[in-house]
């Protein structure tokens, strides 16, 4: 319970200076519907000098593959906001995306490797 999202309607202390909805231009869901909370993203080698600090924080976290949920947890962003911000960064070419976790059917090959991995633990 680190902070409250500001809904623009009350004057209570929001704990941050920029309302979250401004950061995401009012976007409420990612345009890329493959983005799931477990989807992996990674920073691409591009110039980040023009990025807003809130977005740069995310890109800086993505030196190695990381999930949208981890970004939300580490940067204390509500999941929906994290997802939309990641979506914006993917769209603008700052982040690359791995395979979505939302495959309709998890294939046998993948399950076999998960099973083998668990047995090795």
């Amino acid at each position: 319970m680190a902070f409250d999202a500001w809904d623009g309607e009350d004057e209570s202390a929001a704990g941050r200076f920029v309302p979250l909805y401004v950061l995401v231009n009012g976007r409420t869901s990612p345009r890329d519907s493959r983005l799931d909370l477990a989807t992996q993203v990674v920073a691409l080698p591009v110039d980040t000098r023009l990025l807003d600090p809130e977005y740069l924080r995310i890109v800086d976290r993505c030196g190695n593959w990381i999930s949208v949920a981890e970004i939300g947890a580490y940067l204390q962003l509500p999941l929906t906001i994290a997802k939309v911000m990641v979506d914006v960064l993917v769209e603008q070419g700052y982040l690359g995306v791995g395979s979505p976790a939302q495959r309709k059917i998890v294939d046998r090959h993948l399950l076999d490797s998960v099973l083998a991995g668990l047995e090795r633990l």
């Binding site: 319970m1 680190a2 409250d4 999202a5 809904d7 799931d36 909370l37 477990a38 989807t39 992996q40 990674v42 593959w65 999930s67 949920a69 981890e70 939300g72 947890a73 580490y74 204390q76 509500p78 999941l79 929906t80 994290a82 690359g96 791995g98 395979s99 979505p100 976790a101 939302q102 495959r103 309709k104 059917i105 998890v106 046998r108 993948l110 399950l111 076999d112 490797s113 998960v114 099973l115 083998a116 991995g117 668990l118 047995e119 633990l121």
Partner: protein
């Protein structure tokens, strides 16, 4: 470059040991992420006399297991409150399956989770958490109380124990694999 993530949902009633199980097998201490919901409060939360929107923060605990350089497994605990079904939908979509933890002192608290995964055809195993001491019920009694169909595996586990939690995960993945077999199609 391909990097794949897979999800397993850890469900069960309030206080059944979901976060404990996630923490016992995760390679990182469980992380918490939050979803902020805007919802009509009437008749849901007791904010008598207060009309309109309320913000509710729902916490999700999760852990990670690196399976290989290309595959990472995430374990997501469901929120304690049963009413946030749409979050369950997001967690369950595309998941390998679910572990439904069962507290033998309150069998009924795990029934909504059983019902949820049953209805959606998500593979799941029931894991009876031994943490709560001697179990007064037989496997048959638990199966019947939770209305488990015969093909749903029931395992006994201690969510605090890494090896035990790992076995519950293995039981789930085997079950999910079994359901993929052409014989069932």
């Amino acid at each position: 470059m391909e990097r794949t993530s897979v999800k397993i949902v850890v469900a069960g009633g309030f206080g059944t040991g979901k976060t404990t199980l996630v923490g016992s097998v995760s390679e990182i201490p469980p992380l918490t992420t939050e979803e902020v919901l805007t919802e009509a409060s009437v008749g849901v939360d007791d904010t008598t006399g207060v009309e309109g929107k309320t913000h509710t923060t729902v916490a999700l605990d999760f852990g990670r297991i690196t399976i290989s350089p290309d595959v990472v497994l995430y374990l997501f605990g469901t929120p304690g409150q049963d009413r946030f079904w749409f979050i369950w939908d997001e967690l369950a979509q595309g998941a390998v399956g679910a572990i439904v933890l069962v507290d033998t002192r309150r069998l009924e608290s795990s029934f909504p989770a059983v019902d949820y995964f049953e209805r959606r055809g998500v593979p799941f195993v029931a894991a009876v958490n031994r943490f709560f001491g001697e179990c007064a019920y037989t496997e048959d009694e638990i199966r019947s109380a939770l209305e488990l169909t015969p093909e749903v595996p029931l395992v006994w586990c201690d969510a605090r124990d890494r090896g035990s939690s790992k076995l519950a995960l293995i039981a789930l993945v085997r079950h999910a694999l079994g359901r993929l077999s052409p014989a069932r199609a």
